[in-house]
């Protein structure tokens, strides 16, 4: 693939591409993954390279930009926004030795890298600075699109590490039969007895080789920065759809829903809920980023960032439910975007980042309790 210089800002590119997405949502969904031409466009626009080091030709964007890009794309189509968010795995090239990383980007400029962080692989030392890896990872969004995949594994000794797997070495098992985020192709991936040079493995909890502040974000904050835009974009779109529907739909008494008091109050509540969630995510991201300029953000600031993203997801579920309840049976059809977003956010909220333990960890940190640093 030829690589052109990136002229427009990532946000401009995201806004431009997002405008095309509502019209393609059914195609993304029925294809169960992003269509190739859309992947090409996103890649050409550098939107799979938001977190890729500038030294490797990536955007190395600041966190607020990353949030905005994912937000805009998700507003256009949730599966696309999710795929782009997970598809920022090339950021992990910053953890490889510079010459190894450069080897990768020289072979495939602006690579599309996804992966699964769960340490579900196991490796043994194969000698000659190589490991022998076996493992199966579920829920690997965009795995079929990827040049490489990042995968967590347990080495023979020591804490979990990540391995960078060549796309060709990975078997994709078609497991992603779901109600929501259907278009993300989040299948299981598997490698059986893969021989991999050790230089393609790294410790994602340790310091990166790149020295930009983006790579000083601790493990969880780095992930949360990528995720934060998703609930914001989904919530925004849901409320947009909600408005459009109530402005056009009448109840059994032939009154426009937008003229009924309950719906008016709900719209006010939903707009405020979404606005507040967004303002808080932005504030929390900005605070972590400000603290990162001089070192590493405090556990409190990082916990607030995680808390803000979890809150945004709750807010999204809340407005999705309000919209569905108000808008009735006409929203049951697959062609109704509100209904697709309802499924998409219900599915997204099942991600472990929004689970019981993740919520409690935030509370623990805010209550001044000790939590292992890599979990914050």
């Amino acid at each position: 693939m030829s690589v052109t210089a990136l002229e427009k800002s990532p946000i401009e590119e995201a806004v431009r591409l997002a405008a095309t997405l509502p019209g393609r949502a059914l195609e993304v969904e029925s294809g169960r993954t992003l269509p190739a031409d859309l992947v090409d466009e996103l890649r050409a626009a550098g939107l799979f390279s938001l977190m890729t080091p500038a030294s490797l030709g990536g955007r190395e964007a600041d966190p607020l930009t990353i949030v905005r890009v994912v937000e805009e794309l998700t507003r256009g189509d949730a599966a696309t926004g999710w795929t782009v968010m997970i598809g920022q795995g090339a950021g992990y090239l910053a953890w490889l030795e510079p010459d190894v990383a450069r080897e990768i980007t020289e072979a495939t400029p602006r690579p599309l890298i996804t992966g699964s962080m769960a340490p579900l692989g196991t490796a043994v030392d194969a000698g000659e600075e190589r490991i022998r890896l076996i493992g199966r990872w579920p829920y690997t969004s965009g795995c079929g699109l990827s040049d490489h995949l990042v995968a967590g594994y347990r080495p023979a000794a020591g804490p979990p590490r990540f391995a960078l797997l060549p796309g060709a070495a990975v078997t994709v098992h078609d497991t992603w039969h779901v109600a929501g985020l259907r278009g993300t192709g989040s299948h299981d991936i598997e490698v059986t007895d893969l021989l991999l040079p050790s230089r393609l493995t790294f410790d994602p909890y340790g310091p990166a080789r790149e020295d930009g502040p983006l790579y000083r974000l601790p493990y969880m904050s780095y992930l949360l920065v990528a995720m934060a835009g998703f609930p914001l974009g989904a919530a925004r779109r849901i409320v947009d759809e909600y408005r459009q529907i109530v402005l056009g739909k009448r109840n059994t008494e032939r009154t426009l829903l937008s003229e009924t008091p309950i719906v008016q109050a709900e719209i006010a509540r939903c707009e405020a809920t979404v606005g507040a969630a967004r303002a808080f995510v932005h504030e929390a991201v900005a605070q972590v980023w400000a603290q990162t300029q001089d070192g590493v953000a405090s556990p409190q600031a990082r916990a607030l960032l995680t808390g803000a993203v979890q809150h945004a997801m709750r807010a999204t579920l809340d407005v999705a439910d309000s919209a569905m309840r108000a808008c009735g049976a006409s929203q049951l059809y697959d062609r109704a975007p509100l209904q697709r977003y309802f499924r998409d956010v219900q599915t997204a909220a099942q991600h472990i980042a929004f689970g019981l333990e993740a919520q409690r960890r935030v509370g623990s940190v805010l209550l001044g309790r000790d939590v292992p640093d890599f979990l914050i």
Binding site: Y139, V178, A179, A329, D334
Partner: protein
């Protein structure tokens, strides 16, 4: 489908037998859910089996060949089947509602239709989305219309659809200035089924659009079920059409929610928290959520059955006012609300694994959310019921209690 029930043997069937058949069929459903969903409609063998066991004749008057099942039994049958598979439970209840509306036709006409149509199941809806133009000779109408949400459209031999009577291109109005409305019955053969049912929930119900374009509608095949009760003495027919419809619908959320509890309990006992390694089911937050949902469901169910029994008891010997009748509708709305909250809450607890179609919890969530999108649970329905409850309703309301 033509399984020889032309001669009604229904009245000889006891409630226990009916419930036993429902349980037997329900037990086979969990393994078929994915296939039913993929097929997008109730499989023919299940249609047959329901018919063979008189399970589409639960809510019909005995005089028309109904089983005479107690209303509570109907709720429990729909509950059992919905617990096995939500879409199948919905198909069952909708079939029973469709057949129940035969009771508003002239009894002789209804008996004729039933005699001519051995495996009678009526699909369609009462919303007045058709236009009926009177024929000059007064013998009936020319009917055109499209009715969405025609659950059972792929297996029902007869359809029904609400209509407005047209006059000179505009709705004919009654003495209060409201449009004159009715419900039309017509053979499926005269209609087109438009393949529109591409959905996330209740996918297996074949709820496509039913379309007719200028068909003949004899007067005898029309009814006005909105205000007057049907002329039968069966307990169920002491209810208004609206309360009857809701009653037949009420087992669905009970069954789907119960299934979700079963599934969640099983799954959460197996899954462990990553951090502590303890099963989710031993986690305090999970336990407290479980207790809340289970108790709310138990309470809603008991209230529904109690209210139904009380209202039927009262109506057996006296009329009941709107406020009293609205209690039943309110109890059924409550069952849907509680069930919807339950499936969403338990789905949330079950984590990423519940995202997969193979996970019944996820289907429970989709199916019950879809069912509760029904217009009966909309804000304006609630407002209408509340009005009646508060004693502010003084005249019959369109599809009121």
């Amino acid at each position: 489908m033509t399984s020889g029930i032309a001669t009604p043997r229904a009245a000889g069937t006891t409630d226990a037998t009916l419930l036993e058949s429902a349980r037997r069929i329900a037990a086979t459903l969990p393994d078929r859910s994915l296939a039913i969903e993929t097929a997008g409609t109730l499989p023919a063998d299940l249609v047959d089996e329901f018919a063979r066991n008189d399970l589409f004749r639960l809510a019909m008057p005995v005089a028309l060949g109904g089983t005479g099942a107690a209303p509570e039994t109907i709720v429990r049958i729909v509950e059992e089947v919905s617990r096995g598979d939500g879409a199948t439970g919905w198909s069952l209840l909708i079939g029973n509602i469709g057949n129940a509306f035969l009771a508003w036709l002239d009894p002789e006409v209804a008996r004729g239709l039933l005699a001519d149509t051995p495996g009678m199941v009526v699909a369609g809806g009462q919303a007045p989305l058709g236009q009926a133009v009177p024929k000059p000779d007064g013998s009936g109408y020319t009917l055109t219309g499209r009715w969405p949400f025609g659950s059972g459209s792929l297996h029902a031999p007869w359809f029904m659809g609400g209509f407005i009577v047209m006059e000179n291109g505009r709705p004919r109005t009654n003495e209060w200035g409201a449009p004159v409305m009715g419900v039309a019955h017509f053979p499926a053969a005269q209609a087109t089924v438009d393949d529109t049912w591409h959905v996330a929930g209740l996918q297996g119900t074949g709820s496509h659009d039913i379309v007719v374009d200028g068909i003949d509608l004899p007067l005898a095949h029309t009814s006005v079920p909105y205000f007057a009760r049907a002329p039968y003495g069966d307990p169920l027919y002491r209810l208004t059409a609206y309360n009857l419809l809701l009653t037949v619908m009420s087992g669905f959320p009970l069954g789907v929610a119960r299934r979700a509890l079963d599934e969640a309990r099983r799954q959460l006992a197996d899954r462990t928290l990553t951090g502590s390694g303890t099963p989710y089911l031993e986690d305090p937050a999970v336990q407290v959520a479980f207790l809340k949902h289970e108790t709310a469901l138990d309470a809603a169910r008991r209230h529904l059955l109690g209210t139904l029994g009380e209202l039927l008891g009262t109506l057996a010997h006296e009329e009941s006012d709107y406020a009293e009748r609205a209690r039943l509708a309110a109890a059924i709305i409550h069952v849907y609300d509680v069930g919807r909250e339950l499936v969403q809450g338990l789905f949330r607890l079950a984590g990423t694994a519940a995202a997969l179609d193979t996970n019944p919890l996820q289907r429970c969530m989709r199916d019950l959310v879809a069912g509760s999108q029904h217009v009966a649970f909309s804000f304006d329905s609630r407002k209408r019921i509340a009005n009646a409850r508060l004693g502010l309703q003084t005249a019959p309301a369109f599809f009121g209690v």
